[in-house]
Symmetry: C2
Subunit: 306 residues, 2 copies
């Protein structure tokens, strides 16, 4: 083995969600030495499988010493590896000490980043707080709203380095449930896009948000009667749901600076929607924010005892 | 065999939906002689299986003569037994001639009732037109709105014996998709009810319908943070979705006489919701309306040639 393998990386960052697991071997400055991913998310694991699953992915990066491993995401939930109790907003995104997890293998020293909770209206996040921490690390004076599009899109009001309040819209989850498990599955394409259909639906949903329940079945009927194409139907459903989300979250974004963090295609749809409202959102890369947030969390923990 | 079996019933009525098949052997006045049901709905069948499936259910009722069989529902769709082209509203609920289906077995003479379509806004129904016809047969002077709660709830404006316009809300489909195929599946009971949670959610959804997208994930967060019970979460989701439906269909029911047709538990929830808006809806039995509508359709077809 090389000298590097003997000492191992300075630390390892891990993003462990419901459906995915990603890991980066890092040097002390947060530069990526190696990275790998698997589909062994929290949803597929029982508590006693986490250590073995992590070692399957990162074991090859380890040397003879002990390497700190910083984990964000659903691995810290009650059904995960070990519960990292939520910090309550208002607080900084890394608002509570990390939770140490004991492992059988002494080559890793695992800490899990706590999620955030809001008592009223009740809301929770796990993973996004790390991306917000990364964004604030890179943009320390930001005052505005961070939007993290995804299965459960988060809107967080950020000011003076703290998450003041936040709001979840389960738009991605709702889209998938409708697209795959309702009558609309017969009418929607799995891929393809129609920007005009998206924009029209977006405008409709925002001008009359109370009519949403009456608009969904029309995607099916338009297909049967007027030949609405499956890709236009897909874009239209997305427009209706993102439009409904913007109507619901208007108190968050209206008149504020907005930063988007997430995957590029989805963020592009949100950017289109926000630009139609006269906003000029900042776009950032979700993975880069995760790594920056893991680095910020790394700075908060003590070196493990060798 | 008895004499009755030799001649068979005067006719047979069939309700053939996506997930169910029900049949009634009737005398000439529409009184039920026998009835049976199976789960062999359209969704489970290819075109060449319909005749055999029907005979499995009703074959024992047939005698030596030819019996008219009147079918309503999805069996008349493009993917069904034979397409019965939609009649376009405004028109009577039985707005077009029935579609005759050729069968190998000469003991049955099958006719399918066409559904209704509305060009703009695009909408379709199959099966509910028969229930509306049954309701109008029993209430010929009704002028108002017929609401048929179900997987795809229909709201039909009825006047002078015609369906003037109609509107579908896929509330039941949406509820099932969210309850079984989104993150809410962890938070909702399969059964149980909480009337107060239902009423509160109903009022919230109607007073701020634009906030719907922000309220769904709260069912999950309320469970995690404040112990919202799975049966209260179920009633709350139902209240949010029926409230959103009432907000979307307000132009239909506001200031009108409303008749509810459908299954009793679901109709009771819609009745609660409409009473909270100051309406006093009529409640009718869905199966009885189906049979009355099949009888009305039966009167429109000629006797088959023996």
């Amino acid at each position: 083995m090389s000298g590097k393998a003997d000492t191992g990386p300075a630390w390892i960052g891990v993003d462990w969600g419901t459906t995915h697991l990603r890991a980066w071997a890092m040097d002390a400055a947060g530069r990526v030495l190696h990275d790998d991913a698997s589909d062994r998310g929290m949803g597929t694991l029982s508590r006693d499988q986490y250590e073995e699953t992590l070692l399957d992915l990162v074991g090859g990066w380890l040397g003879t010493g002990t390497v700190p491993v910083v984990v964000c995401g659903m691995a810290g939930s009650r059904q995960g590896w070990a519960e990292a109790a939520y910090a309550a907003v208002p607080c900084p995104p890394l608002g509570a000490p990390l939770t140490r997890v004991q492992t059988a293998d002494r080559r890793i020293a695992v800490s899990i980043i706590p999620g955030l909770k809001q008592e009223r209206p009740a809301d929770v996040m796990r993973g996004e707080e790390t991306q917000i921490a990364g964004f604030l690390h890179l943009n320390p004076r930001f005052d505005g709203v961070v939007c993290l599009p995804g299965t459960h899109t988060k809107w967080a009001h950020v000011s003076a380095g703290e998450v003041v309040s936040f709001q979840t819209a389960m738009t991605g989850d709702l889209f998938a449930a409708l697209a795959h498990h309702s009558v609309l599955r017969h009418s929607l394409a799995d891929e393809g896009w129609d920007g005009e259909a998206f924009a029209t639906a977006l405008a409709e949903a925002q001008s009359r948000p109370e009519a949403l329940a009456a608009r969904l079945f029309a995607l099916r009927a338009e297909g049967l009667l007027h030949g609405l194409s499956p890709s236009a139907a897909r874009a239209r459903l997305s427009g209706l749901l993102i439009g409904a989300e913007l109507a619901a979250t208007k108190p968050y974004w209206l008149g504020r600076e907005v930063a988007l963090i997430g995957a590029s295609t989805l963020c592009a749809h949100y950017e289109t929607a926000l630009r139609a409202q006269g906003l000029a959102p900042i776009r950032t890369n979700g993975d880069a924010m995760t790594r920056a947030g893991l680095l910020a969390a790394r700075a908060q923990i003590k070196e493990p005892t060798p």
